[in-house]
Symmetry: C2
């Protein structure tokens, strides 16, 4: 995101400093100190650092020292990396951000270096690397310079919210295996906890807590985060369906192949005849589908009222978010930034 | 352990209270709130709660309120569970503490309930459950009632030490795949970080930090933990090789089948002729070995000087530990308990 470019730079510098220190200290333990530092460095750098950016944005909106909030922002990126590393293992995704996913890098290393079971080695080392990044996130949180009771609130809130992310992830895994169709409420539940609260509400709240913001404002931020997060996730699904390969960093149609239970998919199924549904079920959830089949799904979505249905929901969320932004007691510059961000979220095409 | 029985009871009660609260709150998110509460409850209850016990022991040795230190003790058990859950996925261990391991429970659930890939489902939900237990551990740490700067030290130390546990685990995974033989130093490095510091040093230090103990004492505890932890791990390996099925809760010879790089194995290989080594390599690392082959390995270890070699190392560690215990400025009752524990560690047969 345009607006976050300057934020990303300072977060990246903080992460770099932390990882250099980690590499120095952990080098005494064994060779994996340097290995993990290098891989995480590369991996985190490749991200948009949205979550870290939201921490900085919120701190600034409420007039806090942005410099001092950097460990929290950096922590968000370690947690995010950890989740992605574990997600890729669960989804067997070999690509992430246009590069080989981390467990897959280890799998290849194992294949090149020795005789053992490369797949299992890749998964095992991937699980470890994710775990490590969680601990690094918490270590960063323990370093924040602020009133001690504030530091406690940060760790308490983060661990509680992340625990809920895991529950949503479990639900998501479960949906991926079920033949049963989750309804709109269940899909929105996963979106809310796996994406919205995690990507938006939590970082915004952490930045605001650091700034000493009162509870009523935190509640509004929490709600705003959910609404903006839903917009974000819905647009993400749209891009996954209608975007092209070069922009999104993962194979086109991978959500279709994985039979990801998106709102688009739900609306499409709901509006299809028995016959059409049967045809769709031969496409969704099957690996190696070709461009023709993807085009077929896209066309059907365009023909049905799927897109207008989604559009309506987006508008509702857009209006809701606007109203919430009005209620925030923040600097005018902060309000402007939030509104820009909201507009961008609605309009983005990748 | 006898001495920890009373500790285990109060830690278990604290864990139960925490999980009930978790179940109530997380039930609002989705069905996995109750599912995870039940599985973790069963799983944690089945453990010896050594790590939690050490926290209580240290707090008491330094005269702190044992009641208030319970969240730290409980946290240790959540972290431990998380590591074990992930370990079992990496090792493909279907048994843990005489019951089905957790990822395997999910695998069976998937097999019974639906059509998807049961193995992948089990692994994915297992990864999630481990992640969750990490977050719960940190949430518990954030709840400790103490001076805020002390709380910060707890989280900072725990996250740093756990990060090192992960590095040792990566090394362990790597050894498991390599044809190359790790030397004594490397094996002891894994023991030190994966077991000794993690199981002994960290909980002892956390309990002492809570009690406001000075840095010099913490250093002694850290060192004592390493020595006692090495004793513990070596005895664990011994039991894994020479113990019987009913006592150890995992199949006899599983360390041999997994080709676990223990000190016993290293000494045995070192003292064997070319010919003997070739015979041993047909046993170590092969699944489905029979009792005859296990007996063959055991006999060879008895014939060579493997056991006396190990015995010598244990004595050295025993004496070192005794000397360190002398240096601690603790209650006499605490010193007595530590000494009993040390004796028990050396003598235990399961």
């Amino acid at each position: 995101v345009e607006i976050f470019r300057d934020y990303k730079k300072s977060i990246a510098a903080h992460i770099e400093a932390y990882l250099s220190e980690w590499e120095r200290n952990s080098g005494l333990v064994n060779r994996w100190g340097a290995d993990t530092a290098n891989r995480l460095r590369d991996f985190i750098k490749g991200g948009k650092m949205l979550r870290g950016g939201f921490v900085l944005l919120a701190a600034r909106m409420y007039g806090a020292d942005v410099e001092k909030v950097l460990p929290i922002a950096a922590a968000m990126e370690f947690f995010q990396s950890a989740f992605l590393i574990h997600d890729d293992i669960m989804d067997r995704d070999t690509l992430r951000r246009g590069k080989k996913s981390l467990y897959f890098q280890y799998e290849e290393m194992a294949r090149n270096e020795y005789v053992g079971e490369a797949k299992r080695a890749g998964q095992s080392l991937g699980i470890c690397l994710g775990d490590l990044a969680f601990f690094q996130g918490f270590e960063l949180l323990s370093r924040v310079e602020c009133a001690p009771n504030i530091r406690q609130s940060l760790t308490a809130l983060a661990s509680k919210e992340y625990a809920k992310v895991v529950l949503a992830q479990m639900e998501d895994v479960y949906f991926g295996l079920l033949q049963e169709e989750p309804d709109e409420q269940k899909i929105l539940g996963v979106y809310r906890h796996k994406t919205a609260r995690y990507t938006f509400s939590l970082p915004l709240m952490l930045g605001a807590i650091f700034a000493g913001t009162e509870d009523r404002q935190l509640k509004i931020l929490s709600e705003l985060g959910e609404q903006m997060g839903l917009i974000f996730q819905i647009k993400d699904d749209e891009i996954g369906l209608f975007g092209d390969n070069s922009e999104i960093g993962k194979p086109v149609g991978s959500d279709i192949m994985e039979d990801k239970k998106t709102l688009f998919r739900l609306y499409l199924m709901r509006e299809s005849s028995e016959e059409e549904r049967a045809a769709l079920k031969k496409i969704f959830g099957h690996s190696r589908i070709d461009n023709k089949k993807i085009a077929f799904v896209r066309d059907m979505m365009r023909q049905k009222t799927v897109l207008t249905h989604v559009q309506k929901l987006l508008e509702k969320l857009h209006n809701g978010s606007r109203e919430l932004i009005e209620k925030l007691e923040i600097t005018e510059e902060g309000r402007k930034r939030l509104e820009n961000l909201l507009d961008y979220s609605i309009k983005r095409t990748f």
